[in-house]
Each structure stands twice: as structure tokens, then as C-alpha cells.
């Protein structure tokens, strides 16, 4: 392998360190009209009327459009592949602007103006009258009889309920020798906080709509825009430039459909929607707050006999990704710690919170917090070292999940735990830190996770790729999988160079921008799928291109195709290793052949029908300042078995970012709601406590590279996994330091104070 497995510099690094990289706003037409959205100032109710006269009188305001003007077409926004099976399609439960407003911040009208200030003034000048309804923010409250009804088609606010069972739980727990460990574990509503807010602009060209958007999923956005506007899908052209992060928020149709509609209502004039940070927090998507109830039954010799898990997922006002998150969370338990008798239920429930969608980890950070907290509670009850207990009960080697077909080929959990234990000097520290009594206490903590790679078999997995041999012997490649900051383009360049036998990944030009008029259809960035799924189509397309190249080379050199190959960008003879011609020479000869001219390309689609387990764990060393109710993370180590690494430096960087997100989830992040109005109280980066430079320890990342058998390049998920196990590792370290279970995230001073007080660590 010459090109993969190397820490080469990102293909987009130069432009990014010089500030030349163009994001959507850097491509803005000068004459774009500003569209500002009027958001509802109640959590639930109906818009009775909107007085637009004052707004329309403002100089610079061009037009006001309201929820009474939009087409009556409910649409779904989730960035899922479309399904031809209606029962698999996402719930269509919102309009471009909504008369039935379902959360504080819902979209009710837009003001279109020639300048930003007029648009802002216009929004402030709108007078909206509502028929107000009671609202509900909590899942359990929303499930009660008589709770406010949020969506017309979901009685009882239940979007979906699913169950999974194994053995006979009720029968098993009759055994009087079993030890019961029960807990409620709760995670908050948090937001993605990519530094570039979502935004887009749209205009018409030859009767079609062009929309340049900060999105992870251009092809899916085209479909959703077509559906929302009731127009043929190919009437819409989505262009995705570089984006300033997404983390799942931009794996959803956000304001692209509204933007497309606004330009169509303005005769095709360019219009722009730029989300303010405050809108990103409230009126985009958030991570599902999930409440878990776990009952674990242990045998005296420390095995798990039976387990029951209930998952209550707060969907917020609109379905977005819906039950997929809770279902994935629920599904993780029985595989993580298999036991003979298992029962689980998950409920996804509408509330009047902002709509929850995809966010890095897709239910697994929540599940991992609950599962791993409960497992440490079990170890505590048994008086066992938490790592020893895990070694005993965690997913065994060769475990196979029959639904996904995934297999734990390498006993990866135990390998990660064993390596982490050693690198972290865990055993010594665990002993050294035990039995502390003072106000400042140190402790270590551990948590594990597993993750799927891509979404097969739940949804379609497909990837398309196009390659073109350039006349200088370089190769241009493009696919529908998107660069969103993670480094996908660099991995694609390395994989393409590898398959084709090019000298360097620098001989591959990745077309970073996706344009639905040009780019082969793909699904975009999500589900930690990029390297895995694009790997299939890159391999397949690369092989096709290689075949074509060798066929031409054979014709031009007179050597049989079996006797030649591509090495370091040259056609070489396999007999003597001699260079016969360069790829550039071949490309030129073929292109400029006066009789049989050909530009050498290949294009193919691969339908992926496999999945792969990704594994890992986190070790932390913390100090708890009990009187100050504060946690300092002194050291943090993540270990991953994500298969082979295409680019170790980029993989490490991905892990840092995930750990960082996990750190915020564990310690400080939480959207707060005013119980009186349902309004989000901290819709800005000052009051929403994203971890700063000073809140981070040094982040360490280690890998165990077990090649994934199903994967063309031996890779599997890494994008989301690093975000999964940090929070429970910190929670478990707090348990080790203080003996106190803090089962509600974040572990911020407010929650620590409450729990330390309840447990007597802090006196009256």
C-alpha cells in the first residue's frame, strides 16, 4: 500500500489556512434579497392573523409571505434515503411556514428585503395574533392522557413505539438469588454548534431553481425541496460548497425548501437565508433528550441474567429523523452486554421543544451514557473493578448480530480495554485513588461503546463514483459523499490513488463540491459511512477505469493486458518491470487519436449490503472539587478499533473532535427551557456552555487496526464513535471519586450540587 495508511496533508488544507476556501456566503450574488424569518413567540397554538402592513411600509422591504401563503403540502425533512415503501418513509408533518405552531421559535412568516436592516425591522414590525394552546416540554408529561396534542396524526403524541425481546424476562427475574440494579438515566437537549451557521441562497435559471446550501446531503435536499414545493425533483439543483461543520444538523432539510420557495415567489430573483446563531440553536435541529429506565439482574458470580430497558425520546415538535434515534439507542443494549432474557421498549414522543434530528452519534451517546452508567452501578454493587466486570460481560468474540450481520471478529472490546488499561496505567491509578475523603478527590473512569457503519439494512446504502483520466495522467474523481470538515476528500484521494496505482494522492483531484446536476447520485455525509461506502464505489469505479486504461495501453503497446499494470502512474511491463509509457502519454494519445478519440472515464454505482461493528472506549482521570461542585478532566484517552486507517493523522483528529463533543455533553452543554413559556433561554454561545480551549485536557487517541473483512479498504465507522463514551467515563469517575451516582447530564455544578447535597457530601 503506497497511498493509504499514510498521514498525508489534507487536500483542502492550503486553501483553509489561507482563508480562500469558499463557503456558501462567500459565493453570494451581490443582488440577493435578504429573507428573515418571523419565529413564533408562543410554544403552541394557531396563528389567527398576521398584520403585515407596518412591515410592508418599511423602506427596503420588498415582500412579506406568511403561513397563509404557502402551498398546503406537508413534507418530511430527515436526511434519510428515500424509500419506495410508504411505511418506510419519514413522517411529513410540517409546512414551509406553519399555521399550527408547535414550539417557541416555529416559522410563521418571512420578510424579504433589499437589505439586512430592513429585513430585521420588517420582522420586528409583524404583528402576529395567536390562538394559544397549552404546551408540554417533557416526554412523560406528553405521554399522559389529556396532554396537549401536538401533531394531528399522532394521537397521544406518540410518534412511534417499538420493542425488542429475547428469552423470557418476566420468568427469569423470578429467581430469588438475582441482584437487582435499577436506574433512571437522563440526557439533555443539546445542539451541534458547528461554527458556520446553516444558510443558503437560491435563484432561478432557465426555469429551474438553483440553491447553494450549507448542507451535508445535497442529493437528498433536492428530493425534499421538490417534494415540499410540489415540483419535479430535477427542477431543483442543489450545490454544496465547503461547509463549516455539520455534525448532523445539516443532515436535514433546514431552510433550503423555504429558500427555494421564496425565489420562486420572487420571480426567480436571488434570495438568501442566513441563520443567525440564535436560530441555529432553536429553529434548526437538536439532539434528542432521552430518558432511560434500566433494570439489570445480576447473578452472584457477576453475570448479567436479565435486563429490561425503556427508552423515552423527546422528539420535539416535528418528526425529522424521528424514531430512528430511539430505536438505534434501544438496539445497542442487547448487543453491548448480551444476556439471555431481555426486554426493551422505546418511545419517541412529540413535545413542544425544538425538533430533534440527527446529531453525531445518533442516539448512541445517550445510550452509552445510560448503559455504561448502569454497568458501573452493577460493578459497584458487586464490589468489582469496573474494567474487570466489563471484561467478563461485554460482547463476546465472534458475537453476531443477525439483523445487521455484524460480527465481533477480533474481540475488539477486550482488546481496547486491555490496551487502554495499560496505556493509562489504570490499575495502579484505580488503586491509588481509592479511599479518598477530602474535598478534592481524583479518580479514573471508563466507558465503552459500539457503533454501526452506515445504515444497512435499515435504509438503502448506495454510492456512486465517477473517475476521469486527465491528459496529464492525473485522475479526477467525484462522488456524492461529502466533505464536511472530517477529511473525506483526502481519504477519497488516497483510496483512488491506491486502487489505480498512482504515485501520490496528489495525482487525484477530488471534486469537492457536489452539484446535483453534475455529481453522481449519492447520499451525503452521515452515519459514519463516508470511507466505508465510498470505498465500494471507488474500488469498483477504479477497477473499471483501470481496465479501460489497460485495454488502451495494450492496444498502444502491443502487450497483452495480463502482462501490464499501472505502477506509480506509469504503464509498466510485468515481465521486466520496465516503464512502457506514462498515464499522461497514454491519455493524450487516446484523446487526440484522429480516428478513435476517447476521453477515458468510468462511472458506477455500488449498492452496499453489509455493515460493520466499530468499537472503542474512553479512559479519564479527573479531579472533583466537591465544595465547588466542579470537575476537572486531567487526562482523557480514547481507543478505537475502526479497522484500517486510511489517514492516521486525520483519524486522530476525528477522535479529538468527538472526544471534545463528548466532553461538552458530559460536563456543560444543555439547552434550557423556560417552563412558563417554552422559550429556549440560552440560545447563544455565551449562555450555552460549549467547552472552550481552557476546559479541555490534552486529548489522546489510540487505535487498534483490525482490518474489517466486509470493507474494500478494511475500514469502518470513525466519524461519530469518538463522541459516544466520554460522558459516561466522566460520570463513572465521579462515582469512583465520591460514591455518588449523578445520572443526569450534564455533570455541571448545578447537577453536582443537587446530588452532593442529597448524598450528604455537602451539608446544609
Amino acid at each position: 500500500m503506497n497511498n493509504t495508511g499514510k498521514s498525508v496533508t489534507r487536500v483542502d488544507a492550503y486553501d483553509k489556512v489561507t482563508g480562500r476556501t469558499k463557503y456558501y456566503e462567500d459565493l453570494m450574488p451581490k443582488d440577493a434579497l435578504y429573507v428573515r424569518i418571523k419565529h413564533s413567540e408562543i410554544a403552541h397554538g394557531y396563528v389567527r392573523s398576521i398584520d403585515t402592513s407596518a412591515a410592508e411600509a418599511i423602506e427596503g422591504v420588498v415582500r412579506v409571505l406568511t403561513c397563509f401563503d404557502v402551498p398546503d403540502i406537508p413534507f418530511a425533512t430527515a436526511g434519510h434515503p428515500w424509500s419506495m415503501d410508504p411505511s418506510h418513509q419519514d413522517t411529513a408533518d410540517r409546512h414551509l411556514l406553519n399555521r399550527h405552531v408547535r414550539y417557541y421559535g416555529d416559522d410563521v412568516a418571512v420578510v424579504i428585503a433589499e437589505n439586512e436592516v430592513a429585513a430585521m425591522q420588517g420582522v420586528r414590525a409583524l404583528k402576529v395574533e395567536y390562538d394559544e394552546l397549552p404546551f408540554v416540554l417533557d416526554v412523560q408529561e406528553a405521554m399522559k392522557e389529556g396532554a396537549p396534542q401536538i401533531q394531528e396524526n399522532s394521537p397521544g403524541n406518540l410518534l412511534k413505539h417499538t420493542s425488542a425481546k429475547g428469552g423470557n424476562y418476566e420468568e427469569a427475574i423470578k429467581n430469588p438469588d438475582l441482584i437487582k440494579v435499577e436506574g433512571w438515566y437522563e440526557t439533555p437537549t443539546v445542539q451541534h454548534c458547528h461554527i458556520e451557521n446553516h444558510g443558503c441562497f437560491a435563484y432561478e435559471e432557465n426555469g429551474r431553481i438553483v440553491c447553494v446550501a450549507s448542507t451535508q446531503i445535497p442529493h437528498i435536499i433536492r428530493r425534499v425541496c421538490g417534494q415540499a414545493l410540489g415540483r419535479p425533483w430535477a427542477d431543483i439543483r442543489i450545490i454544496k460548497p465547503y461547509i463549516g461543520g455539520g455534525f448532523g444538523n445539516k443532515q436535514d432539510a433546514l431552510y433550503e425548501p423555504l429558500c427555494c420557495w421564496c425565489t420562486s415567489m420572487m420571480g426567480g430573483r436571488p434570495v438568501r437565508i442566513d441563520c443567525a446563531r440564535e436560530e441555529t440553536f432553536v429553529s434548526n435541529r437538536v439532539r434528542h433528550a432521552i430518558r432511560f429506565h434500566i433494570v439489570t439482574w445480576l447473578t452472584k458470580d457477576a453475570t448479567i441474567a436479565a435486563r429490561k430497558v425503556e427508552v423515552f425520546s423527546n422528539q420535539g415538535a416535528y418528526a425529522s429523523h424521528g424514531h430512528s434515534i430511539a430505536a438505534k439507542a434501544m438496539g445497542s443494549f442487547a448487543q453491548h452486554y448480551p444476556c439471555p432474557d431481555f426486554e426493551s421498549d422505546s418511545y419517541t414522543v412529540y413535545t413542544n421543544r425544538p425538533a430533534a434530528g440527527a446529531m453525531r452519534g445518533y442516539g448512541m451517546p445517550q445510550a452509552s451514557f445510560a448503559d455504561e452508567s448502569n454497568i458501573d452501578d452493577c460493578a459497584k454493587v458487586l464490589g468489582m473493578d469496573p474494567v474487570d466486570f466489563r471484561m467478563k460481560v461485554i460482547m463476546p468474540k465472534d458475537y453476531k448480530d443477525n439483523f445487521s450481520g455484524n460480527v465481533n471478529y477480533f474481540d475488539s472490546f477486550r482488546a481496547c480495554l486491555a490496551k487502554g488499561r495499560e496505556l493509562f496505567d489504570y490499575d495502579r491509578l484505580y488503586k491509588e485513588y481509592s479511599g479518598q475523603t477530602g474535598p478534592l478527590r481524583r479518580a479514573v473512569g471508563v466507558a465503552t461503546f459500539w457503533y454501526n457503519t452506515a445504515v444497512y439494512p435499515i435504509s438503502l446504502e448506495t454510492s456512486s463514483n465517477r473517475m476521469l483520466l486527465n491528459l496529464d495522467g492525473t485522475v479526477t474523481t467525484q462522488c456524492g459523499e461529502t466533505e464536511i470538515g472530517q477529511g473525506a476528500d483526502t481519504a477519497f484521494a488516497q483510496m483512488t490513488a491506491e486502487i489505480l496505482g498512482l504515485k501520490s494522492y496528489r495525482d487525484v483531484h477530488v471534486v469537492s463540491c457536489q452539484d446535483t446536476d453534475i455529481t453522481p447520485t449519492g447520499l451525503g455525509a452521515y452515519a459514519s459511512r463516508q470511507t466505508y461506502v465510498a470505498g465500494f464505489s471507488i474500488r469498483q469505479t477504479g477497477e473499471q477505469l483501470r481496465e479501460k486504461i489497460l485495454k488502451h495501453a495494450s492496444e498502444r503497446t502491443g502487450q497483452p493486458t495480463d502482462d501490464i499494470d499501472i505502477e506509480e502512474g506509469n504503464i509498466v511491463s510485468l515481465r521486466d518491470g520496465n516503464v512502457l509509457m506514462s498515464l499522461g502519454e497514454l491519455a493524450k494519445i487516446v484523446q487526440y487519436d484522429p480516428v478513435h478519440s476517447e476521453h477515458i472515464t468510468a462511472e458506477s454505482t455500488f449498492t452496499i449490503r453489509s455493515n460493520a461493528y466499530s468499537f472503542g472506549c474512553t479512559f479519564v482521570d479527573i479531579t472533583v472539587d466537591i465544595p465547588m461542585c466542579k470537575i476537572t478532566v486531567n487526562r482523557a484517552l480514547n481507543l478505537h478499533d475502526c479497522g484500517n486507517l486510511i489517514n492516521p493523522a486525520l483519524a486522530e483528529a476525528q477522535v479529538h473532535g468527538g472526544m471534545s463533543m463528548g466532553l461538552g455533553f458530559g460536563l456543560s452543554e444543555q439547552l434550557l427551557f423556560d417552563p412558563k413559556t417554552g422559550r429556549v433561554l440560552n440560545n447563544n454561545l455565551l449562555d450555552y456552555k460549549l467547552s472552550t480551549f481552557m476546559d479541555h485536557p490534552r486529548l489522546e487517541a489510540e487505535f487498534i487496526e483490525n482490518p474489517e473483512p466486509t470493507s474494500p479498504f478494511g475500514t469502518k465507522a470513525l466519524g461519530e464513535p469518538p463522541a459516544c463514551s466520554m460522558a459516561p467515563a466522566i460520570r463513572n469517575a465521579v462515582l469512583n471519586a465520591t460514591g455518588v451516582e449523578v445520572d443526569m447530564l450534564p455533570l455541571n455544578p448545578h447537577n453536582l450540587f443537587r446530588r452532593f447535597k442529597e448524598s450528604g457530601l455537602i451539608g446544609e
Binding site: V17, G19, V117, I195, R277, E652, L685, H696, L699
Partner: protein, 161 residues
């Protein structure tokens, strides 16, 4: 009624002048009037650092700095860091080499703060560097590789001098 004012300032070493709308932030002026698109908008209230530029040698969030205040100032953006023949500065190179760049949106602001830190010629501890860099939020990197890049160049420059 829009009110305009003529301002003169030095932008990346070059004297410039422009009639600007008094309501414009320095971010607006740099992006819209001078096409300095490295100046990014992440929050527009001074909480994320994406719009950071150097004004008379000190870092400011240009989103909450009025454009008219730029009059008479020496302003530097990331566009001004390239050498006369287009060569990268050491800190830009280090951001590339240390994989300190992911989505790239916070990068220009971070590099400009790094410039202020490095031009002080002082040696800082890790804790001090964290504090000096703490006016920037990044969701991609966990700050780890940014710290590595800045530390590396700080040490290189101290060795040279």
C-alpha cells in the same frame, strides 16, 4: 436614511480608503467592501472568534467593532499573511502539518490570534497558551492540534531568535 463616512486605514500593509455605511461592522466592511472573506461570521456577537482580525497588533472580534473605528488603524487579516511570493507563513504551515484544520471555519480567526501570540516573542506555558487562545470556539478539533501547531511555531521561533 443611510449615513456614510469616509475612512482611511491600512489593510494588510496597503493604505486604503472607502465611504462606508456607519452602521456596518468591521466584519461587513472587510467582507463586503474589501472581499476579505477569510473573516467569518459565526455568531456576530463576539462569542465565537471566527471574525477575529488584528487591529494595531491586537486581536478583535470584528463583528462587534464598528467599521468607522477602523479609520487610521492598521488592520491585518489572514489574507495578509502570505509572503511576497505567495509563500505560507510558518504558522499557516504548522496548521497544515499538525492537522489543525478540519472544516476550516474557525481557522482564520485562530491563526490571527496565533500571530498576536507569536509576535510577542514570549514563551508561554501550555496553560497560558490555552488562555490566550480561548477566545475562539472550535467544534471539530478539540483544540488539541491547534495547540500543537501554535506550540511548535512558538518553539521554532524562540530557537531562531
Amino acid at each position: 436614511m443611510a449615513q456614510y463616512q469616509l475612512i482611511h486605514f491600512t489593510l494588510n500593509g496597503k493604505p486604503v480608503e472607502k465611504y462606508i455605511d456607519v452602521r456596518a461592522s468591521l466584519t461587513d466592511v472587510l467582507r463586503n467592501d474589501f472581499s476579505m472573506t477569510s473573516v467569518k461570521k459565526g455568531c456576530e456577537v463576539g462569542e465565537c472568534g471566527a471574525c477575529n482580525v488584528l487591529i494595531d497588533g491586537e486581536c478583535y472580534n470584528s463583528c462587534i467593532y464598528l467599521g468607522v473605528w477602523a479609520d487610521g488603524k492598521n488592520i491585518r487579516t489572514l489574507e495578509g499573511l502570505l509572503g511576497p511570493d505567495g509563500e505560507l507563513s510558518d504558522i499557516q504551515q504548522a496548521f497544515m502539518d499538525e492537522t489543525a484544520v478540519q472544516c476550516g471555519f474557525c481557522t482564520p480567526g485562530f491563526i490571527m490570534t496565533a500571530v498576536e501570540i507569536l509576535e510577542s516573542g514570549k514563551e508561554y506555558s501550555e496553560e497560558e497558551l490555552r488562555k490566550l487562545l480561548s477566545g475562539h470556539l472550535c467544534r471539530c478539533t478539540g483544540y488539541e492540534n491547534i495547540l500543537r501547531a501554535v506550540t511548535k511555531v512558538m518553539k521554532q521561533r524562540l530557537k531562531k531568535s
